[in-house]
């Protein structure tokens, strides 16, 4: 009975309570009732009946897998085929030997018998494939040897080897830069780097091509933003990504100014030396060597082995603190089969050669590049040549673009075909214009080789002059 009494007592208390209290209680009771009785809102997605689903499924007509297959006469479906070796001369199936100014083997390493011998010797003991990623028995002593040699060559603590030139920079950048970080990059960086930047999901800020002033302006702007939110700034890593010699323009990077900015604004400098490796600097070590900048100023140096080095794959060098991280985080390193040992052995030989005769090789290639640059300067009134004199890569562009890349490219392709008739194999620089961050103007890319003679340079000039005159009038 005591409980009933309590109920009675509380009822009495309720009657004595003030109106505000009652009102509050009333609201609470209503709330509880509402919660119990209110219809559950149907979830945002309205469930459809089976039949409606079937109708929708039947109605859905997906695009074909390839919505717009290229026409069968698309020029890139009929690329030129190389017969035999692509050395200093190349046979494109006409039987005529053409002077090769298209393959990117600046140092003619492919024509040195000792490189080939090294590859074959390795083939005899290791076979071709490595049959596994580096982590799972895909590492051979040849790989370790090459990594060690590259590290010593660059006076760095460690090197890491990739099995594909493209994947080197595309994997190395996102191993460090993550979302929330800022990457300052030159607007003309090569496509592999662009892919790396995209994969990192960082904020990408492009500065004007090879213009440290513009970069400085952007950094100052960012410094003002950072001052307002120091907490966030202290968690934001900043990277600077540039190339030693720009593959897309042939310009030599203004490294000293960039290094100064790196120090001032605490950026991490990532340098792609694909073109400059073996072609710049008194020890042929590339752009740092060229400006005599110690390697400690650069955080990570990436390079392909497929250009001047005449091999396959790529590598990164730097302090072991930085580089070793890629062994667990560089996707193209961890999850890919390692470089076939015979190709690594060939690259070891190339490092040997660079160590021994790097100085004279650089001298020769720079001399040839300068000669070629001068020879091509007054090619035709309607074209111009871009790139530094020292750079082994030259781009010939039309002075007046028709405004349509396809048209310009078609004109240049005609020139390339004409040049073949005059005995020179050159190529239109290939780009996927809709994928490039800042698509360059179409150009004919001339690659200078170390072994070019003065006579061959004259031949090139004459052939291109004739070809341009034939096409452009």
């Amino acid at each position: 009975m005591a409980s009933q009494w309590n109920v009675y007592e509380s009822f009495q208390a309720l009657l004595q309570a003030g109106p505000y209290h009652l009102a509050l209680e009333g609201v609470l009771v209503l709330c509880v009732l509402f919660l119990f009785t209110a219809k559950k809102k149907p979830s945002k997605m309205v469930r459809l009946t089976k039949k409606e689903e079937e109708d929708l499924l039947a109605e859905w007509t997906p695009e074909p897998l390839v919505p717009r297959p290229p026409p069968l006469d698309h020029p890139n479906l009929h690329t030129r085929t190389v017969y035999g070796k692509a050395g200093q001369y190349v046979d494109l199936g006409t039987g005529q030997k053409l002077l090769n100014l298209a393959s990117q083997s600046f140092l003619n390493m492919g024509e040195r018998p000792e490189v080939e011998e090294a590859a074959v010797a390795c083939l005899h003991s290791y076979g071709v494939g490595s049959c596994g990623p580096r982590g799972f028995y895909g590492t051979t002593d040849v790989h370790l040897n090459l990594e060690e040699r590259l590290a010593t060559y660059f006076n760095c603590e460690a090197a890491v080897l990739y099995s594909y030139g493209f994947s080197t920079s595309a994997s190395a950048v996102p191993a460090y830069a993550k979302s929330g970080d800022i990457i300052y990059a030159d607007e003309c960086i090569n496509f592999a780097l662009q892919r790396g930047l995209q994969a990192s999901r960082s904020r990408i800020v492009y500065f004007r091509h090879n213009d440290p002033e513009d970069l400085h302006r952007l950094l100052k702007e960012q410094a003002i933003v950072d001052a307002k939110d120091p907490k966030r700034a202290n968690a934001t890593r900043k990277f600077l990504v540039v190339e030693g010699v720009y593959f897309n323009t042939g310009e030599v990077c203004a490294l000293p100014q960039l290094v100064a900015l790196r120090k001032q604004y605490k950026l991490r400098l990532f340098l792609d030396e694909s073109v400059s490796f073996g072609t710049l600097g008194p020890h042929s070590r590339g752009i740092t060597d060229h400006f005599n900048i110690p390697m400690t100023e650069v955080d990570l140096l990436m390079s392909s082995l497929e250009l001047g080095a005449g091999g396959t794959g790529g590598f990164c060098v730097g302090t072991s603190f930085v580089v070793e991280h890629q062994r667990l985080s560089g996707l193209g390193y961890c999850f890919s089969a390692s470089l076939p040992p015979m190709l690594a052995a060939a690259s070891i030989k190339v490092v040997d050669i660079l160590e021994e005769e790097g100085a004279s090789l650089v001298e020769q290639i720079q001399d040839r590049s300068t000669q070629m640059h001068r020879a091509l300067t007054s090619l035709h009134t309607k074209v111009n040549i871009t790139g530094a004199e020292l750079s082994p890569i030259k781009h010939i562009r039309l002075n007046e673009s028709s405004g349509d890349r396809q048209c310009d490219e078609a004109v240049l392709t005609q020139v390339v075909h004409k040049a073949e008739e005059y005995g020179v194999a050159v190529t239109v620089a290939s780009y996927l214009y809709d994928r490039e961050a800042n698509a360059p103007q179409p150009s004919i890319r001339i690659t200078v080789h170390k072994n070019l003679t003065d006579a061959q340079i004259d031949t090139t000039r004459d052939a291109l002059t004739h070809a341009f005159t034939d096409v452009l009038g």
């Binding site: 390839v66 290229p70 890139n76 050395g87 490595s130 028995y137 994969a199 605490k266 091999g311 190529t427």
Partner: protein, 593 residues
């Protein structure tokens, strides 16, 4: 009126709905316009229907069903309480049981997955707990010196858990990976002996080598050889055209040998055309963005390889992940995604692509291709099969998972695979219809920006493929395929019989054997090495936390004697580490090779 009340309760709301639907079908036909508005229209129809339902119910003065319940006698509160209580107890017991011993929903014959006991599960977490605890205590007293030189005042390059894991867990066992060899990765390898003077911080070579049987390399058909026809052909090509092209395919990187290789690959796979690339990883990463874009739907298996995941991420397509090798889950998710369209814009998808692998390299499972083909055809999706591990290693002609199930190659829209594994070379291919390959030839990043495949590597593929196809006039290819198949069956059955938990399909040359605990993985690898067997241990983060395992990759180069030796050593080390986890009954009948 009475008759009316008697009938009406039987008229279920659904029936009324269908009546409503009939009246609406004409409407829906008239608005069956294609395109984005479909969903909105459908929504309207549904709401109409609901109102119709109410209208019908209201107009025909059907008594509310609730009223009828008053006629029945209520049971006592006590009984009601116990009814609910008994359900509650049943459900609770069920939940607890399935928490500890989850039900395997996989079909037995397709792929057997035996799960470990709850106690083992507990010890897995315990072992990680101990490792982390020790790590934290250590780093509390001796903070790691992660200071960089010359970079004072910089935002740290690495932060967070990842480097803690590397320092405190991976460092202790890192000698189990990245081991260097100094021989051809064939049936036996010369492992370079290593030691660590400082508990795993640095690892040095002693200069000695250990001869081991190799069950770590992906040398399925045994083409990793330093003599024989492949080697000779590769040497000849090296001398003839050199080792590199230094030019992408669009420029001067296309050699005769590349064209020859591509037509051979197309013939081998039974498709119209093929395109090849210098690196398997890059084949996925650089081509998926050319095939897919924003507005495309991708159904991706949860255990897909990192290259597929990265490629899909770069493509910008919407990715939905389905349970590993589970066609029911795939169908459910695909159906729902197509019906409800893009989750933000509500637009229909441009196209839907199912992305799977032939053999999953960590699970050893073979994808359920016939069901995938059925689903793909039913829902008008496209099928992308990554045959990195299965090409060469599966099927009576070595044609991969397509050959294994006898599926028409045209049912798979995009064939992708690598040459690293069964062909003992490097690189990858994509094969399919002429249109697809032509599209890739003009849009693939690798065609435009990356150097083409090294000629000796291409030659290795050509020669090994010719042998597999039997075009060299010998039965060597057939012999290798059969040898591998017998090896796989024998090895897997013996392991199971010994009482190990083995994942994957019975015909898969990738044999994962579950060990669960990190210390057991490292001990297993080290002990096996001492006994002359080189295997691979895999743990978190390559697998789930509870999925630490040994992985054996079998090869046609292995003989029965080698397999017996491996099995003997594995059994012994299994006893040392008490890793015979399987609790299923075993028959003791001897297993034939």
């Amino acid at each position: 009126m009475v008759a009316h009340t008697e009938v009406s309760p039987q008229v279920s709301p659904e029936k009324i709905l269908t009546v409503g639907e009939c009246s609406e079908t004409r409407g829906s036909e008239s608005v069956s316009s294609k395109g984005p508005d479909v969903l909105c229209e459908q929504n309207e129809i549904v709401s109409h229907k609901n109102s119709n339902h109410v209208a019908i119910a209201g107009s025909s003065t059907v008594p509310h069903p609730k009223k009828k319940s008053y006629k029945e006698e209520d049971c006592s509160l006590f009984v009601a309480f116990f009814t609910f209580l008994s359900y509650g107890v049943l459900l609770l017991v069920g939940y607890i049981k399935e928490f500890f011993v989850p039900v395997t929903t996989k079909e037995k014959d397709r792929e057997e997955v035996e799960l470990c006991s709850p106690f083992t599960n507990f010890t897995i977490y315990l072992s990680y707990g101990v490792l982390f605890f020790v790590g934290y205590v250590k780093e509390f007293f001796y903070p790691p010196s992660t200071k960089e030189k010359n970079r004072e005042g910089y935002v740290p390059l690495y932060i967070g858990f990842e480097s803690f894991y590397t320092r405190n867990v991976y460092r202790r066992i890192q000698d189990c990976w990245n081991r260097a060899i100094c021989s051809v990765p064939g049936a036996e390898i010369d492992l370079m002996e290593r030691y660590t003077p400082d508990y795993g911080w640095t690892i040095k070579h002693t200069g000695k080598t250990i001869r081991c049987i190799n069950v770590g390399s992906y040398n399925y058909l045994g083409f990793a050889e330093n003599k024989g026809p492949c080697h000779d052909a590769a040497e000849e090509v090296t001398r003839e055209v050199g080792i590199t092209t230094s030019s992408p395919r669009w420029e001067l990187g296309t050699m005769e040998i590349h064209r020859k290789l591509e037509s051979l690959v197309a013939e081998f796979l039974g498709v119209e055309d093929a395109i090849t690339f210098g690196m398997g990883f890059a084949t996925n990463v650089l081509n998926l963005p050319s095939l897919l874009g924003p507005g495309c739907l991708v159904l991706s298996d949860e255990f897909n390889h990192a290259s597929l995941i990265l490629g899909l991420r770069l493509s910008g397509a919407t990715v939905k992940v389905f349970q590993h090798n589970n066609p029911e889950d795939l169908e459910k998710k695909l159906r729902e995604a197509i019906v409800y369209g893009h989750s933000r814009t509500r637009r229909p998808w441009k196209k839907a692509v199912i992305v799977v692998e032939g053999i999953y390299s960590m699970e050893g499972s073979i994808c359920d291709l016939p069901n995938l083909v059925r689903i793909k055809n039913k829902y008008k999706a496209y099928l992308y099969v990554d045959e990195a591990h299965s090409i060469g290693a599966l099927g009576s002609h070595g044609g991969g998972v397509v050959d294994y199930y006898g599926v028409d190659p045209k049912e798979v829209d995009i064939h992708m695979g690598t040459f690293t594994k069964s062909f003992g070379a490097a690189g990858g291919y994509i094969a399919g219809s002429k249109d697809l390959i032509n599209h890739l030839r003009v849009t693939s990043h690798a065609q435009v920006y990356a150097s083409s495949m090294s000629p000796p590597v291409a030659q290795q593929i050509i020669t090994s493929m010719v042998i597999i196809m039997g075009k060299d006039g010998s039965t060597e290819g057939r012999r290798r395929i059969q040898q591998l198949s017998r090896n796989v069956k024998y090895f897997r059955q013996r392991l199971r019989q010994m009482g190990f938990i083995v994942y994957g399909h019975d015909d898969s040359p990738v044999v994962p054997m579950l060990l669960y605990l990190i210390p057991k993985i490292s001990m297993f690898v080290r002990e096996l090495t001492k006994r002359g067997v080189a295997g691979v241990g895999v743990g978190f983060p390559a697998t789930k936390i509870t999925g630490g395992r040994m992985r054996f990759c079998l090869s046609a180069a292995h003989t029965k004697e080698m397999l017996d030796k491996i099995l003997k050593e594995v059994d012994e080390v299994g006893y040392l580490t008490s890793s015979h986890y399987s609790r299923e009954p075993k028959s003791q009948e001897p297993i034939e090779w």
